[in-house]
Subunit: 389 residues, 2 copies
């Protein structure tokens, strides 16, 4: 068990009609607000009007950056930062899915420094040294971006998707209203649920993750996602389901479960290459890859992790042979993704071509060996992609 610093200081208003507190929270930071959002779904659900009316009534000066892409482009960061600099923005208000929030985190950073190409945060050439405060209103339960320090951006020129993190980018305040996710499509609900599940699973399959209490809380969150993902799919306006998914998505990846563990993600970097090249939904890519990665990882040394998951989360009979439990456990994960959530199970079904596998694998591991649960080099990743074809 490693030392850690716990410092998750996002204030969260959880529930319905909490936007009554929006203006008082924003006012703490100033009157000039940059409102960021995506392709307009927040207009369809009436959230845009609601927010704009509140801000206007209260005398805020509102600037806007719209059209942030689902796999957000680094160019949006530059655009947003430019607006902030030109208009003396005090606070950024991100309304939308994980992509909008991720992108806004680096707008907040770039607004306060002279980094001319914000991709530098992602390539390692620049560090975040300061950031405007960020307030978020998420409209999806998936990435957990509303409470964490990370953003994933895409560089269109380089065709590469990368994450970067800074505690300075953690949202100051987030308004989590489960009803804002009612209109999320079946597919996006399934995909977001797969993303949440994958976050927890990747923290779980980790030889460093030996903090018993946190392992049991991972069980708790996985059980929650398994129970409520399908319910939200079948009844999009089920408040319990949407609320459980929403709060679980925040806690899956806000840093609490990680504690002091060194985490090297396995499925996430592979998936990032899929969605960078093919622009597929992140959660869908994870759902395709994850069970195959689990099969790839199953051996005598990793077996206890599968048994722990199978018996602790999926309620598989403890008295069975361990290898039998492990195989049933993988089958349970497959059923969850492909039956309960109805997601595609192969790369070919989503149009990803076998001929691209070597390139995807090479990019995912950057030509090196990832020091993951089981080490992953290009060959290993190609094998997982072949298992997924």
């Amino acid at each position: 068990m490693k030392n850690f610093i716990y410092d998750i200081n996002t204030k969260v208003y959880f529930g319905q009609n909490q936007l009554d507190f929006l203006c008082s929270e924003l006012k703490r930071f100033g009157k000039n607000v940059l409102l960021t959002y995506g392709k307009g779904s927040i207009k369809k659900i009436g959230l845009y009007d609601k927010v704009i009316n509140l801000l206007k009534e209260d005398g805020f000066n509102v600037f806007e950056l719209a059209d942030i892409d689902p796999n957000p482009r680094i160019t949006s960061v530059s655009k947003g930062a430019k607006i902030c600099k030109e208009n003396n923005i005090n606070v950024v208000l991100a309304v939308g899915g994980g992509s909008v929030i991720d992108c806004s985190k680096f707008i907040c950073a770039n607004a306060l420094d002279d980094v001319s190409d914000p991709w530098d945060y992602f390539s390692g050439k620049a560090q975040v040294t300061a950031a405007l405060p960020l307030v978020t209103i998420p409209t999806m339960a998936a990435t957990g971006s509303e409470m964490n320090i990370t953003g994933v951006l895409t560089n269109e020129e380089l065709i590469i998707k990368k994450s970067a993190s800074s505690p300075l980018c953690r949202p100051a305040v987030s308004f989590l209203d489960p009803t804002n996710t009612y209109s999320v499509s079946k597919f996006q609900t399934a995909s977001g649920t797969a993303d949440i599940f994958s976050h927890i699973l990747e923290l779980y399959f980790n030889f460093n993750a030996d903090f018993y209490m946190l392992r049991r809380i991972k069980d708790a969150l996985m059980k929650t996602v398994i129970k409520y993902g399908p319910i939200a799919l079948n009844n999009p306006r089920d408040y319990e389901a949407r609320a459980n998914l929403m709060w679980a998505s925040s806690w899956a990846i806000n840093g609490f479960l990680k504690a002091g563990d060194a985490i090297v993600w396995s499925c996430h970097p592979i998936e990032h290459e899929l969605s960078a090249l093919y622009d597929i939904a992140h959660g869908l890519g994870l759902a395709i890859i994850t069970p195959k990665w689990m099969k790839y990882c199953l051996n005598e040394k990793t077996l206890p992790y599968f048994v722990e998951l199978g018996t602790g989360v999926f309620d598989i009979d403890k008295n069975l042979e361990p290898m039998d439990i492990a195989n049933k456990c993988i089958k349970k994960v497959e059923d969850f993704f492909y039956v309960d959530l109805g997601l595609d199970d192969t790369l070919s079904k989503v149009g990803i071509k076998e001929e691209d596998f070597p390139l995807l694998a090479k990019k995912a591991c950057k030509g090196e060996t990832l020091n993951t649960f089981l080490p992953l080099d290009q060959k290993a990743i190609e094998e997982i992609l072949m298992m997924s074809k």
Copy 2:
């Protein structure tokens, strides 16, 4: 499911040798520090010297309030606040168990106002309007005071023990080093473990507590406490055990599990009267009362809670009759307290006399009916005390 505001902003340094960060954290608030502690156990374990040396080396002006009692007296609050006012204290550093931290919270408050009798915070006559920042170094895993907004104080004159809460009293920074609990006696370890378990159980047996994810996290924390309490008892220097108990104690009662639920404590107010009158350890009192309270509460309406606990936490066979599961579940809780933790199981064993039951019951419910899981009036509480005699 109710709305809630999540705003738990205590920064926690968890692990060994994290005191390297102590001075830099204190410095954020100023140079004048009031060090508060109890009966000197922090001197025995070398923690006092370590802290004092760090502060002196870094040029802090250190004032001290020692001798805070295990069931802390309101008079200590007055003393501490006086020192703060006279010496322009910038930050209070509480080193010790829950009693020291609880007491320090209201020293922080009283240092900044003109409330002449700090019992007024507890009787409802005064509100906390401001508070000095509080930094804590807990030496026990029990009350969770290091991360929450509550303190329990005793008024010696009135022979009454009461809790009061204010978000302004939440510690700014806490240093949780499991090795600081190595020297906690077997009895205090058992008692603290019972306290943690009881906090979770009281949040669990609540008709309002319908947030599935949080119910599963309650399972996770109870499993943690059940597993590691006995290990810490038998091997006081087991780091895993001490660490799990320590982090579980913080999360049991920092507000996260409560979310928007209206909580009216059942066993806690009864126990507070026991320890106010007899000065017994809080956790011991809870251990005696809780299983009897569970028996008192078991009926057709409450049955599902017992079944959920029995199957989800104690692994009782789901196929048994519900009432059978419930009875086995209560037996499991008894075994945990009285066998695994070795605590006394009756009031007579700790010297509490039957003749005091009516007075204790009357004080616990203040002559009214507590709107608890099952409503508790004086007669009901007397019945529970009789079951515990």
